[in-house]
Subunit: 424 residues, 2 copies
């Protein structure tokens, strides 16, 4: 059983409303889990392996709750369109390439390295429709030491011909991966991934809901990202009460653990349904800017008790940096505050930090915090070049790193107590 102690300035968010700060303290890690945090090291831990990061910051690893691996090569490109034309013009042609395993490997190598570099220790990921590429991505995440949920995308209509699956093949491929990867790893797991309602027939969604329940497999999809998309879903599913209900009717909305990305235009009824079913919302501020989608009313979801995490959503989003996404989340919430006549209060720093760590981390279990029993996913941050002009509190130092630091400030990454080196 591994026994490690790290020394430094330890910061995490147990609750949304404030950061827990243990200045110049020790965090004791046993068997990958946090055992204790204290100012003085108890002598029972004296023979543990001590890693001294005095002066540095130690924070939970970041959790990216929604991103598209095969869109990695498109980051920063084609951001002059809204969702539907963007999918048709840029995204679907790129995703058509992933029958090629060599190309898949080249892209996934870069993606996983870059997640690691930016301190993202857990991610929830869309692959593309091609099953072998999705398997390769799972294998590569396992090799990397980072934690992930990976989904093979399902689409059997309204997409590029090269990506349109035969419905039964789509279902069978999905079940094949579920069974093949069921017991391979508890760090990298499969997640059922209907792209979104417009690209899936009722038969496909129904069968995916059945698989979710049969294998107790989690689910991810998109919800109410764009106004035109919402209208389209209304046309395609005229008998459903609303967009969220479409998923709900097919057991794809919280019947097993579920993440819905975006949720910008969700109605009060839909938000309440998500809260009731415990469905996670993945907030992707930069993607929502880039595709002119709008700003999710995060405060409203929070108030109604919907679990929330933050996400890059590359390549709708351009940045993989969760630090930048925390800042973007706060900034977007300030514009939402103005937009709602100052009704929905801006997010505080600790709230956004919580969402990027424990908020999304809770989808993985006891992840994203340093409370006792939590898996020790952590980043060691060296901020001396940012913080050497005047005296700053630990909380001010964290804010400064998040707003103006970058991957260069991250000097070590741990997942489940294990130091993770650059994967590839």
């Amino acid at each position: 059983m591994s026994k490690t102690v790290l020394k430094g300035n330890i910061v995490y968010a147990k609750d949304k409303d404030k950061l827990e700060i243990h200045e110049d303290s020790y965090v004791v890690v046993e068997d990958g889990k946090v055992k204790d945090i204290s100012r003085e090291l108890d002598k029972s831990y004296k023979d543990y392996n001590l890693v001294d990061h005095s002066g540095k910051l130690i924070i939970p690893g970041f959790v990216d709750l929604h991103l598209h691996a095969p869109q990695y090569p498109n980051r920063g490109l084609g951001l002059d369109k809204e969702l539907i034309p963007w999918l048709d013009t840029y995204t679907f042609p790129e995703e058509s390439k992933y029958g090629d395993m060599e190309y898949s490997k080249k892209v996934f190598t870069r993606l996983i390295n870059e997640l690691w570099q930016n301190g993202t220790t857990r991610a929830v990921v869309f692959a593309s429709v091609q099953k072998n590429s999705a398997k390769l991505l799972m294998d590569m995440f396992m090799e990397s030491g980072l934690g992930a949920y990976v989904g093979k995308v399902n689409m059997d209509r309204n997409t590029a011909p090269s990506l349109t699956e035969d419905t039964q093949v789509s279902i069978d491929d999905t079940e094949e991966i579920i069974k093949e990867y069921e017991n391979k790893s508890d760090m990298v797991r499969f997640i059922i991934t209907p792209r979104f309602a417009p690209t899936c027939t009722e038969k496909l969604m129904g069968s995916l809901g059945d698989l979710a329940i049969k294998y107790n497999t989690p689910v991810q999809s998109h919800l109410s990202e764009n106004q035109a998309e919402v209208l389209w879903v209304k046309e395609l599913f005229p008998d459903s009460k609303d967009y969220a209900s479409v998923y709900d009717e097919f057991n794809l909305l919280g019947q097993t653990r579920t993440i819905m990305a975006h949720c910008i235009y969700a109605t009060d009824d839909e938000i309440e349904l998500m809260a009731k079913n415990g469905v996670y919302a993945a907030h992707c501020p930069y993607s929502n800017y880039n595709l002119s989608s709008g700003i999710m009313p995060v405060r409203k979801f929070m108030d109604k008790g919907v679990p929330i995490g933050l996400a890059s959503d590359i390549s709708g989003g351009d940045s993989l940096s969760m630090m930048s996404i925390i800042a973007g989340t706060i900034q977007a919430s300030k514009m939402k505050w103005l937009e709602t006549d100052k009704e929905l209060k801006p997010l505080t720093f600790s709230e956004a930090f919580y969402l990027a760590t424990k908020g999304g981390g809770s989808f993985f279990g006891k992840v994203g915090s340093f409370e006792e029993g939590y898996e020790f996913d952590a980043l060691v941050i060296d901020d001396k070049e940012l913080a050497d002009i005047k005296d700053l509190t630990i909380e001010e130092r964290i804010q400064k790193v998040v707003y103006i630091g970058d991957d260069r400030n991250i000097v070590e990454r741990y997942v489940r107590g294990k130091l993770i080196e650059k994967p590839f």
Copy 2:
């Protein structure tokens, strides 16, 4: 006379609507100015010093049209407040420190190095009220080789006691610097800098307007950043038609070349007055997010013919990266498009790139473009790690660098044809 030729992929924006792209070409620089761009090097240039950057991108240096040097230590801090309480709580206490020349030097060293690092080759800068600190900043910019306008701030009311100037001393100090620096450098020049109408008495603003005209000195200030500020100005100047007219009445709105930062809540009349007087608007998207100010309707200003540049506005803004600010400008314009019921069209990539180069650069003269006769301020960009997955056009490569690159991609900086090394 220096004679240099650079080879590479040359990109600039002569007009807003498209990028000029010269793939694998030569730019000939004589005496600091662009002489010619061509695909084949004319033999009359064969004896010029050739710098071969084949494969790399060569773009104009960035222009930051509005930032506060003494707020540098506060970047990323205290962004939980709106403008007026933020000034009182964070900014004024920090600006009070600049009677200390050692502290000034420490901060300005870091600031100028970081401007250089981020490829900002020209900047328009607020110092603080302390005249010696402003002079030091001018001296340090001269030493750096970067171009700048620097202003000693004027404030004789409604600020911290430690920053409140005697009106006559404020005027005299300003005139002293104008005279002392009049002929010192044409790269680093003084700019008259009433902080904003609420912190300046009528007497002070009147005298500053007189100095502007007497010495033909440019002017910078703030305009309509925040709704509470606009109301405050209305109370303080009940006889003026609007906020812009306050400055106009004191010859501080385009009687000499003028920059007004923010302009979020400017009325149509004010925008027309700015256009008529040729007053620049400095758009600071991240600052406007951070201080919950709002989003400037850049498209409307553009349509009405107001000259516009982009700006970091540290430390209301957190980032000094003009690449990031270009992306932020496009993103903000997309939210403005939604906010105005799709009336004000989002900015295109080339429009935002133009604003960050030639748009702001025109305040300095023939700066920010590679047209013949323009001063050769340039960045050499190595983007091979960003662009090696699939074939990209030069325009796509530039977009990628701006969205997901950073200072690490900038390998050389030129100002007026001269290679600039890290200043300090």
